[in-house]
Symmetry: C2
Subunit: 217 residues, 2 copies
DNA sequence: CTATTTTATGAACAAATGTTCATTTTTAAA
DNA sequence: TTTAAAAATGAACATTTGTTCATAAAATAG
């Protein structure tokens, strides 16, 4: 499981701290924050509850730390340090790669847990809403809408409202991701939803692209 | 809910029972089920906690009753007893009316509370998932997909995968509904999202309709 | 190895919570 | 008005829960 590297990078303490976070996230995702007790967390990592208080002031601080980590989670760093100019010219391939990222994240345990935590707490926790809004919505939707604008100027896609396009592109992905989470909870097959990720890209691109054939007439 | 007979209408007892449900729903939606205490509910309706136990066996039964009522909620009865044949010929008007229903429901207090409760508990409560799946997903998505199929045969819209269309049509509505809920929590303006409901219909219909003009060439 | 710091333990605590129940109050029926 | 049923109250209860703290064990530095 854990290795002691020669130069003692992970100073044992921070190792435990991360284990607490990892365990808590898993439990919060399944039972919700409020219903998860400090004893649950400690029990799941084979330790007494009082041990946790050497690493976190209290239960709230565990949640707050997890929320803070959301900003570096994969959902919110889709376009990180990517150049808009460069993205535009990819056309449909860019959309396909975003959809694939969403699909893969649906099946990544860590990310799935973050997603569930987010969805369960977002209605009660203003800070989560802030992060969701600033990092997911602003960052991704606004940025993609900029990319669409560029595509319009390059006559890759039909001219229309770029912000609408970005919303219309993301919202089904978001929805399908939730469907996958729900199906997995009941151990049902996800295959029909999984295929939707690609179908969405095809359907969407077909509807916005400028058909070179057509422009000949 | 339950009727005594023709003669005694609100029999006081059932009045209180409904007040408990109404108050609980409001609180569950804001704080979540687990974080809402029996004292919270009683306090909000100006009564002592022990009084609730004359109407419900325990706290769980309150939640279960609310969940049971979900099936008669407006989200899940979109198409109730509507004839598919009749719906098809409405074309875009049908989609517009569905979108409007979603939009209006976002601003109906009762429905908003149900939506929040659903979203917060759906990851923990299998019964909610069942109802969501059977009544929202199966009933609405499947039914709309049938309508799309009819539209294709009548050459109102282009031929494609009807189930995909239904998913692509509903998921943005679902997403925008959530956005409205979140914005209202922070008392932010919802106008930009509200306009999305109609824009979505326009964008979507434009992409699936068969353009009579075009078919002349 | 020894000393010092960090981490874990066991026990305990106060507060919060769901629930019960005997009793009183209110409502509805006669 | 009298009476029976329904609903509300006050007080108590057993648990659960978050948190503290003195002490013991373990890790780290000198």
């Amino acid at each position: 499981m854990n290795d002691e590297s020669v130069t003692s990078l992970p100073t044992k303490g921070s190792k435990t701290k991360e284990k607490i976070l990892k365990t808590s996230l898993k439990l919060f995702a399944v039972k919700g924050y409020k219903a998860t007790t400090v004893r649950d967390i400690a029990g799941a990592m084979g330790v007494k509850q009082s041990a946790l208080y050497n690493h976190f002031k209290n239960k709230d601080e565990i949640l707050e730390t997890l929320i803070g980590n959301l900003t570096s989670s994969a959902i919110v760093t889709l376009f990180e340090d990517k150049d808009p100019q460069e993205l535009q010219i990819q056309g449909k391939a860019l959309l396909a790669s975003i959809a694939t990222t969403f699909k893969l994240l649906s099946f990544d345990g860590q990310n799935e847990a973050l997603y569930k935590l987010l969805m369960q707490e977002i209605f009660r926790n203003e800070r989560i809403r802030e992060i969701y809004n600033e990092h997911f919505y602003q960052e991704n939707v606004k940025k993609l809408s900029g990319v669409f604008f560029g595509m319009m100027q390059n006559e890759l896609i039909e001219s229309s409202d770029p912000l609408l396009l970005a919303n219309e592109f993301f919202s089904p992905l978001f929805f399908y991701q939730m469907q996958v989470s729900l199906l997995k909870l009941d151990k049902k097959s996800t295959s029909s939803v999984v295929s939707m990720f690609e179908k969405h890209v095809d359907f969407f691109w077909e509807n916005i692209k400028i058909d070179k054939q057509e422009s000949l007439f």
